[in-house]
Amino acid sequence: MTASPRGRARIRISRFSEFTIETLIRVLGFSTIGLVLLIFLFLLREGVPVFFQVPLRGLFSTRWYPTFGIFGTLPLILGSILVTLLAIVIALPLGVATAVFVREVAPRWAREILKPIIEVLAGIPSVVLGFFGMTFVAPMVRDVLGAPTGLTAFSGAIILAYMALPTLISVAEDALDSVPRSYRDAGLAMGATRWQTIWRVVVPAARSGILTAVMLGMGRAIGETMAVMMVTGNAAVMPSSLASLFRPVRTMTATIAAEMGEVARGSTHYHALFGIGIILFVLTFVINLAAAKAIFQKRRKGGLR
């Protein structure tokens, strides 16, 4: 069974093209990793000097006046954390309830309409949501709560919650989806009502997946810039008590976005902004790591508990 010379040539060509394609894909794959690495190195190179130029005590002090050489990042870090946590507190019950409704309760036709609508939510540009927040949510927060201004951490959290919701819902829904049918059947067979089955069996079984959804939603919220900048008022005040929720805050992302345009290259202020970038990167990295760990545990335990 010897192939004709023509057939052999064809095999050689197809081997060659296969080799080319394989190499190409490999190069592209590695270059993505390389790019991320380069960006990280750039961030380090531009940001690390600030840790030498400003003493650590100054860097983690409570006042941020970059134009006058006061670089206390603490109000910015706490501002970001405050807004993000509050956003998740708002988004979690809404997101899980929506996911449960879409996956467990809604009839098939409703699910078919709801799912694409939820996906469309994710596509709304953040600046549009920011504008909505500025002209609608902020005045409402002011009038209903009687705060001096509506541009507060709470208004920002509402907008962020809205932005985190689509991610949260679809990941949580996937988690519910991976709960085997037998669990539901067993629950119902034991005489539990539908509500009891959902609340005591299905949702707990999908717990780690829901945790992942929360982490991903948090990652989205903490990195959001434009909407937050438009709605939170951007006053670098230290959050000190529960009342701070209804006071203006300044987040790390808004600070970088607002000040990078003006700053002189190579100045302490410039390095400080990249320093904030490093802090933000570390925070996001920790959150993503936690999410990855949750996914890993889920796999190990067969998607349950």
Partner: protein, 308 residues
């Protein structure tokens, strides 16, 4: 004719690049510089003027550029904002021909320009008044500079202590990258005293745009803000300002800026790298003469009374 078409296309390409760089500029200043350098290829430099800087001036600069290009079709002028600091930095890097600034260049910036072999030349192109604005429902009509300074330093927490209702004060300011912020800090908060170290209260809300300030002032009775006269809309109330408690309390307008009775006004500048020549010179001459006709339309104050 085909040659001219090519030039045009190149100019449009430049414009697009500069626009893209300008839009991205907020977050990535180094990129702006890189892209602008590409755009300023020597072959188009003579007939194409790149003009970047102050957000206060950007609308006026755009209006000038559009009118001038209609009069002189062979000249292409592309205008972008980004803040006085951004414009000056680009001038220092040699990537633009004209920088718009709502403040004078600092000694450090001039030194840095000199290091790059550039001697910045300053042209005063218009005057601007900084209006202090409150919500129309706020009964306060006039404030002294000292009262405004105390408000923004956080010493006055309630409107009732300066003749208003018993309400908390919400302070609004532009972001610290705006020339307006620096001017307001030096001339109003510190009352022109170079040795003063007064700062904006940490409670001050820093708004990313003029639109942010006007929206909040329109909606919130507690708010006080400041912005260039050209950006004050009809639904905000301007406060009359006095140098001392004895008065007179003066509202900002073209007339009160020109006769210097309104205390918070400043010149707006265009900077060039060295004495300008050719198209840039002709443009600046036009801006400071016939171009002044557009200044009032955009809410600024021309260098001279019209008709003079």
């Amino acid at each position: 004719m085909p040659l001219r078409g090519t030039t045009h296309r190149m100019a449009i390409a430049c414009l697009a690049i500069v626009c893209a760089a300008g839009c991205a500029g907020r977050g990535t200043a180094p990129n702006t510089v890189g892209a602008a350098r590409v755009a300023a290829a020597p072959s188009v430099r003579d007939s194409s003027i790149l003009n970047t800087g102050s957000d206060t001036l950007v609308n006026l600069a755009l209006a000038w550029a559009e009118r001038y290009m209609a009069l002189q079709p062979e000249v292409r002028i592309s205008v972008t904002g980004g803040g006085s600091g951004t414009g000056i930095a680009s001038l220092i890097n040699g990537t633009i021909q004209i920088a718009n600034a709502s403040r004078e260049m600092s000694a450090e910036e001039i030194a840095e320009a000199n290091k790059n072999g550039i001697t910045p030349v300053r042209f005063t192109v218009a005057l601007d008044a900084i209006a202090v604005v409150v919500n129309p429902r706020n009964p306060v009509k006039g404030l002294t500079l000292r009262q405004i300074s105390d408000l923004y330093a956080g010493k006055t927490a309630r409107w009732s202590s300066i003749g208003g209702d018993d309400r908390p004060v919400v302070l609004l300011s532009r972001e610290s990258n705006s020339g307006t912020y620096v001017y307001f800090l030096e001339q109003v908060l510190r009352l022109g005293d170079g040795k003063s170290t007064t700062l904006f209260s940490p409670e001050t809300l820093l708004m990313p745009s003029s639109e942010g300030i006007s929206t909040e002032v329109r909606q919130n009775v507690n708010a006080i803000g400041y912005d260039g006269l050209g950006y004050v809309t009809a639904d905000q109330k301007m406060v009359a300002v006095a140098r001392t408690a004895a008065g007179p309390f003066v509202l900002p307008s073209a007339a009160t800026v020109l006769d210097k009775s309104y205390p918070v006004s400043r010149p707006l500048y265009m900077y060039t790298a060295g004495e300008p020549s050719g198209a840039v010179r002709a443009y600046l001459d036009w801006v400071m003469s016939e171009g002044q006709g557009l200044v009032t339309e955009l809410g600024f104050v021309p260098l001279r009374k019209s008709g003079q």
